[in-house]
Amino acid sequence: MAADTESHTIDFRLPSLGSDMDAGVVLDWRVSPGDRVRKGDVLVEVDTEKSEIEVEVWHAAVVEELLVDVGTEVPVGTPLARLRVDADVARRAGATAAAPASAPVTPAAPPPPRSSPQPTQRPAVVVGAAGSFPDPRLVFWPSPAGSPTGVVHATTPGAATQGSRADRRQAAVAALMDRANREIPHFHVTRRLDVERALRALEERNEHHPPTERVLPAALLLRAVVLALRVHPELNGSWADDAFTPASTVDLGVAVHVRGGGLMTPVIAAAEELDLDALMAALGDAVRRVRRGKLRSGDTAPGSITVTNIGDGGADGLFGVIHPPQVALVGFGRIVEAPVVVEGSVAAHRTMQVTLTADHRALNGHSAAAFLDTLDDLVDSPEVLT
């Protein structure tokens, strides 16, 4: 059989980078026509009003044409660029909808024409294609002059909507927490972990490395969680249509505090493939992306589980709120030196409270407690340091 050397031109469309995203402004093209891109390369930077996001390309391809100028706002689903991909890639992706698998394209009907001025500021609800109604709290306000003022996310009637990026981000978090609280029957199980041995091993390890190669306790805890999920896959996945679907990878959401207020949850995809050093690098990259306000499209993917408050901060423990459609959240409290009993004697060890918050539709106390058992064993094992 002759080798398939055909290639196809596909449209790379603006993906939906969040449940409330309706449109984005092209900020900066990172490629030019003729460039060859690999999977994961950043194609373009887009402003979604809550964050600047670097949109990654999902297939190896050659850039043929850039279709949208910098500064232009376009609805989700608009072709941004034309890419030439190999025939088999095109077949897998579908001829015209080459969108990243982690950020499904919402094929929306075009929103109300922005050029026609509205006499009054009545909200126009954007309705998606048949079968896909966007969140009804999403409203699109045309301004009196006819040019769009941007997408606004109203959480409750009369709630503050427009405002700074931080306000909009907070509104998005509020909406998610609100939904989680309404839909998910939360329960919590908690355990005090003795982390003295783990921290000493980490310190010993870090002693022999410059700061550029050190590993933080946070990364070690993430590693322990990922390893524990191998044994307890029922915590890693999503709940939809009255059923749990396990995820095939551990896409770890990490809650990162944003200075000035707010919370962002970048995602470390396929965390189970990363050893401790790689996980530390991924964690550092994720935190730095949040600090610079430069998220990647992969960060906006839902994630299969979230870990929060990993060791910093003033709380002994965190009993959190699950991020739907996930079914579990792992919260770590601060490191506290405490008396522990070791072989009949009291010693001063560093400890930390870990809390598993779980969705009682998907999980029960037994499996939740078993996870904590496994986590406790893993924190002390050499495996977590690899």
Binding site: P210, P211, R214, R259, R291, G311, D312
Partner: protein
Amino acid sequence: MTRDATALRQLVVDAIAEVAPDADVGTLGDDDEIVPTLELDSMDVLDVCAGIYERTGIDIPERDYPKLVTLAEFTTYLTAREDS
């Protein structure tokens, strides 16, 4: 090249500003506690030390972190490391 205290202080400020572009490093006084004042977390602290390592070659071990509480202390520490 041996840097003096002023140059080292600036290096620390630059390293912090690079790590925390969203923090107001300009408002940091010499005797303010860096971490709580700028709301730095453990990742930020590590990145600052990494930035200093990359700029100066000075490897700050974890056990010396308690000596770096304020900008003044940080500068004193680095000056002593430079001289030795």
